[in-house]
Amino acid sequence: MLVQQIINGIVVGSVYALTAMGATLVYGIMRILDISNAGAYAIGAYVAFFFLLQTGSPLVALVTGVALTAVFGFLVQKFLYAPLMNKSPNVSLIAGIGLFIFLQDFLRLVAGPQARELNFGTLLPSIQFPSLQLTLYGTWFLILAATALLLLILWLLLNRSPIGLAWRATAQDLETAKAMGINTNRVVAFNFILGYGFAAVAGILVGILYNSVYPTMGDVPAYKMLAVIVLGGLGNPLGTVLAALVIGMAETLIGGYVGFFLPRDAIAFVVLILILLWRPQGLLGRRRSS
């Protein structure tokens, strides 16, 4: 049972890591809590759902879902966030929330309020180990593999490519990067394309895992991803992964052994508050420099 629960926890944690990565990247550059990223999560899943219905091809569905959402991310930064960059962070926050509400209701009006199935067919069968009382879902492998692969790509992109270098410089300090001749506008655009692309991947994978897409599917990620990125130290991709695993594991073990003494989402925040009391800068955050 313990092995099963630990695997459950890792899967939940991976899902959180994927879900929170988009917002982590956006925060890393823009220093805003981008709630509309959770809208992109739902958009990605719905675009994939639509193309799956139209073409029947999982690959086409996946690629269009991610690509169109990434384009959407580009447009969002160009027409909404970029002009607000020098305003108070509250402004971007509320704008993002407004966009999120708008997107959710847009999806409801276009696709109907009911949950729809996102059935990619049985990609991989579940594996049973009766002697160990262990079950491994086929989709779990998909989730874990996709998470690992995407994080690897992200790492290579940020650490081994010219745009990654520019990204890191801009994340350190946008003004200085600009002064050093880095085209920060391009970095910001790239950042949103990447961030919203990630959100779409997360939305599609979660849609497959739970075989359902619905207009309000971004509701939980909208706040949970914030807990994850804050716990990870805000804007630190590695910290996000670590925090996601901590929260996923804590929720799973509490749910499996103690029983939920508080709702699952509240537990994530209790973990967050306790850890922040101990480390106010998050798990992998740097101490504030004064």
């Binding site: 049972m1 729809r116 079950t135 739970y210 309000t216 509701d219 929720e251 939920f260 709702p263 699952r264």
Partner: protein, 398 residues
């Protein structure tokens, strides 16, 4: 500096003025036209069309429109047409209250139907009661809703009755001795789980575990892994379609092999059956819609609804539809003024409706009808049994 203060004062004055307008305004709202006319009869309706329960809001709104259409096509109310005044409450009690006020004082409705959840309906109920306008809750289960007075009714089984019915099914039809309960953590899941437990234990059964979760939960592997170790005969899951479908799917993936018993909450063709797919097969539910019923009202409703909505109806739709049919029956027999409608509803006996024969309403306003037991077979709900036992289906009157 001066202009700044002037502007802010202006805004304060406007805001307060707006509020004070509320103190003085209104008053003449609830004057009703004389009975001898052919103006349409207005029936109020509210549902969570937007927000987290939008799927149910959509079903019930379609059902309400269908019902009004049907009433008007079959001659209206003694020659008068019925008009639907429908609002979206966004699943917020505060909005439900202002809608209830609007319906009762502005729109001049003679009766209303709540197509919403418990906390919204619970907040709106006293307003209808005070305005002396009858209101029927289609599927809200909070026990307090009907307790305020005479004007509030309920069209689905009060939670205690359905929970008991579930335990009856568990003991007598599924022969379960031990059960694990998984309930959604709101008044719906809690009342059902509580009354299930009470009856089940009184018949010698044992509840081995009880876990609760929020409406938006999707991940049940941890708790199902735990339940797997406990090896209960049955899992009772009073919850809604979204969560119910995930429980069904994840139980199958974990190879649980435990019989599952649900409630009317997962009586949904789109959200439950399609998402759960083959993994739903064999799940039994207690509900109030018997798809294989021989009743004309039921078959007509299923046919009409499917044609209109392009998908098969679920329980919330059927229950909402019946609210309007009951109102129409009361108005036809007893008159279309609020007080007469109220009396008319109390007089209803053995009325044929989409959700079966309505035996009547008790003094609290709770409905008495048979509980339907359905089973999922080949991706559809099918007849499994019907509970007619008076001890089970009679709602409490206190």
């Amino acid at each position: 500096m001066k202009s700044r203060f002037s502007l802010s004062l202006l805004i304060l004055i406007l805001s307060l003025g707006l509020m004070l307008a509320g103190c003085g305004g209104g008053g003449g709202g609830d004057k009703k036209p004389a009975a001898e006319n052919k103006t349409p009869i207005k029936i109020g309706f509210f549902a969570p069309v937007t927000g987290p329960a939008a799927a149910d809001g959509d079903s019930v709104t379609k059902a309400a429109k269908l019902a009004v259409e049907k009433i008007n096509k079959t001659g209206g109310i003694n020659g008068r047409q019925v008009e639907l005044v429908a609002y979206d409450d966004n699943l917020k009690p505060q909005e439900a209250v202002s809608i209830a006020q609007k319906l009762t004082t502005k729109d001049g409705v003679v009766a209303a139907v709540s197509g919403s959840y418990s906390h919204t309906t619970r907040a709106a109920a006293p307003i209808f009661e005070n305005a002396k306008i009858p209101m029927i809750a289609a599927y809200a289960l909070h026990p307090d809703i009907t307790k305020g007075g005479d004007y509030v009714f309920r069209q689905s089984f009060v939670g205690t009755a359905q929970g008991k019915a579930g335990a009856f099914v568990a003991v007598n039809m599924l022969k379960a001795k031990t059960v694990a309960i998984l309930n959604v953590d709101n008044d719906f899941g809690t009342t059902l789980a509580d009354s299930f437990t009470k009856y089940f234990e009184s018949k010698g059964g044992k509840v081995v575990s009880r876990d609760k979760f929020t409406m938006v939960e999707k991940e049940f592997n941890p708790v199902l892994t735990k339940i797997k170790q406990l090896k209960p005969d049955l899992i009772y899951m009073p919850t809604y379609s979204g969560t119910g479908a995930q429980i069904a799917r994840q139980a199958k993936e974990l190879n649980l092999g435990i019989q599952m018993l649900g409630t009317e909450g997962i009586d949904s063709t789109m959200e439950f059956l399609k998402v759960a797919g083959a993994t739903a097969d064999g799940i039994v539910i207690t509900t109030n819609l018997n798809r294989e019923s021989k009743l004309k009202a039921t078959q007509e409703f299923i046919k009409d609804y499917s044609e209109m909505a392009k998908h098969a109806p679920d329980m919330v739709a059927a229950s909402t539809y019946d609210c309007f049919m009951v109102l129409a029956e009361a108005m036809r027999k007893n008159g279309a003024e609020p007080e007469k409608i109220k009396d008319g509803i109390y007089k209803i006996k053995d009325f044929e409706a989409a959700t079966g024969i309505i035996k009547g309403y008790n003094k609290l306003g709770e409905v008495t009808k048979n509980v339907q037991v359905q089973i999922v077979k080949n991706g559809a709900f099918a007849y499994y049994g019907e509970i007619t036992d008076a001890e089970i289906i009679t709602p409490p009157d206190k």
